[in-house]
């Protein structure tokens, strides 16, 4: 996946996890938590969805990389470069 495709995939996951949120105005360089109502269980949902959809295992120490869209995409880029977006 390209960076743009990874972003679309993360947005798709977020729309499942936070179905009441308007994601159209989400700023890529601002943390998710500053823009959305997300708690620790929601972040675990992001990790779980990446695991289920793409078999990506994210160690707990790396959860910090999922803070914003930019940091998430940067972190996932090497892990998802060989995955095709369906």
């Amino acid at each position: 996946m390209t960076r743009d495709e990874i972003k679309l995939e993360v947005l798709d996951i977020l729309s499942d996890i936070a179905p009441d949120e308007d994601l159209s105005q989400l700023k890529d360089d601002v943390s998710f938590r500053e823009q959305m109502e997300l708690d620790s269980m929601d972040f675990l949902d992001i990790v779980m969805e990446l695991r289920k959809r793409h078999r990506i295992q994210i160690p707990e120490d790396d959860y910090v990389n999922l803070a914003s869209m930019d940091s998430t995409v940067t972190f996932l880029e090497p892990l998802m470069k060989d995955i095709q977006r369906v």
């Binding site: 499942d16 996890i17 936070a18 179905p19 009441d20 109502e37 269980m41 675990l44 949902d45 779980m48 695991r51 289920k52 295992q57």
Partner: protein, 414 residues
């Protein structure tokens, strides 16, 4: 005896919130019961395939956002809907109430089967890799989940828990709420019963293996207690939650009062995992009457538990004949014939369906009795059509369950 209690020990029902397969509020539900309208419909569930069930169609998003629905359980959503509707119906000033003094007591037949089976199915799609087992599983399956979801949704900081009481749970929740008010543990109780059991295959498969799952070409005729052609239980979901207050508090704020809990009883058979014991059922009803200071002849309506199993109905009828066989005043009906067996919600839903009788003096029927089983031919049985009465002062509501758990509550018109 409850009847001699002082006003601060008398417990009254001041609000009702419910969802049944044939109505999502008391007015619609009562209208359906008087019109003979069933809520049973075709239903398909994983592993079982096509079957029948009582399905509720309330709007989950009326009192929850989509994220909370996703995170919680169906039983939680049923509970929140019913609790919010009951509180609104009670007319209490919810913004002003001290929520540390509100208690939540919800009866359940079981909880967690739905969520666990869903997760087992989910990991089966990943070669049983437990790393994809959801972190939501534990908060969804703790036994207090439905009551806890109410407190989260409504900001209640008083006590909350559930009461596991098989299919006597609806009555048990009501009794628990009343007892906590009498003990001074809370000043406003949210109490009743709920069920989500239709959301996984196990309960259908279990009853089928037991030879106790109803089948009929016409879903609306599948639940037929007391009929010779009955062949088992229609499983349903639902919920019915009451707001309970001390009579002194309710009258002080000028609350509408649906009725007063004047007697109750819970007993155990101690004889069998599944088979009911009519001697103990009769003792349960008699104990409730004694506590209320009443005789059988004082009861205007008995709301039966009968589930349409071949033996269970006969056993309850033996118990009913023992207690009410000589009562000319008592009418007997059955609400499962309309809605199926709503499990943990059954007791509270079936009671609620009868409470409007205090105003309209009509006893709704037990429907689908085309060929009355002679062993179920009780005096006072109201068959197929509602019956006008000379007035309703007292209703006795039976709810029994597996492992030999019996409950009866008596409500008086106020």
């Amino acid at each position: 005896m409850i009847r001699s209690a002082s006003d601060d020990q008398r417990i009254v029902i001041t609000g009702i919130g419910l969802t049944a397969p044939n109505g999502d509020n008391l007015a619609d539900y009562r209208a359906a019961l008087l019109a003979g309208k069933s809520g049973v419909e075709p239903y398909n569930i994983r592993y079982i395939g096509d079957t029948l069930a009582g399905v509720c169609h309330f709007n989950e998003l009326k009192h929850q956002n989509r994220k909370d629905v996703r995170r919680g359980t169906r039983a939680g959503s049923v509970s929140i809907y019913c609790a919010r509707e009951a509180v609104a119906d009670s007319g209490i000033d919810w913004e002003a109430i001290d929520r540390e003094r509100v208690g939540v007591y919800i009866g359940l037949t079981e909880h967690g089967n739905v969520e666990t089976e869903n997760e087992v199915y989910e990991i089966s799609q990943f070669n049983y890799d437990t790393k994809v087992w959801t972190h939501h599983h534990n908060p969804r399956t703790v036994a207090n989940n439905p009551a806890g979801e109410i407190t989260l949704n409504m900001g209640i900081t008083g006590p909350h828990y559930t009461i596991g009481a098989a299919c006597a749970a609806g009555n048990a929740g009501l009794i628990q709420g009343a007892q906590m008010l009498m003990l001074g543990e809370c000043d406003f109780a949210i109490a009743g019963g709920v069920s989500e059991s239709i959301r996984t295959f196990g309960i259908f498969a279990g009853f089928a293996s037991q030879g106790a799952l109803a089948a009929h070409t016409d879903p609306t005729k599948a639940s037929r207690p007391f009929d010779r052609g009955r062949n088992g239980i229609v499983v349903s979901e639902g919920g019915c939650i009451y707001t309970l207050e001390r009579y002194s508090d309710a009258t002080k704020r000028g609350a509408k009062i649906y009725g007063e809990l004047v007697g109750y009883s819970m007993t155990s058979d101690a004889t069998d995992f599944v088979l009911p014991n009519p001697t103990q059922q009769a003792r349960c009803m008699n104990q409730a009457l004694k506590r209320a200071g009443l005789n059988a002849e004082d009861i205007d309506i008995v709301s039966t538990h009968a589930t349409a199993t071949p033996s269970g109905d006969v056993q309850e009828c033996i118990a009913l004949r023992t207690v009410f066989g000589n009562s000319k005043r008592t009418h007997i009906n059955n609400t499962k014939s309309f809605i199926g067996h709503a499990m943990g919600a059954a007791g509270s839903l079936e009671l609620a369906g009868n409470l409007p009788s205090f105003q309209d003096n009509v006893c709704h029927a037990t429907i689908n009795v085309d060929d009355l089983d002679p062993e179920c031919d009780l005096p006072g049985l109201v068959l197929n059509e509602p019956r006008e009465t000379a007035g309703v002062e007292y209703i006795l509501n039976n709810s029994f369950g597996m492992l030999g758990i019996n409950s009866a509550v008596i409500i008086k018109r106020v």
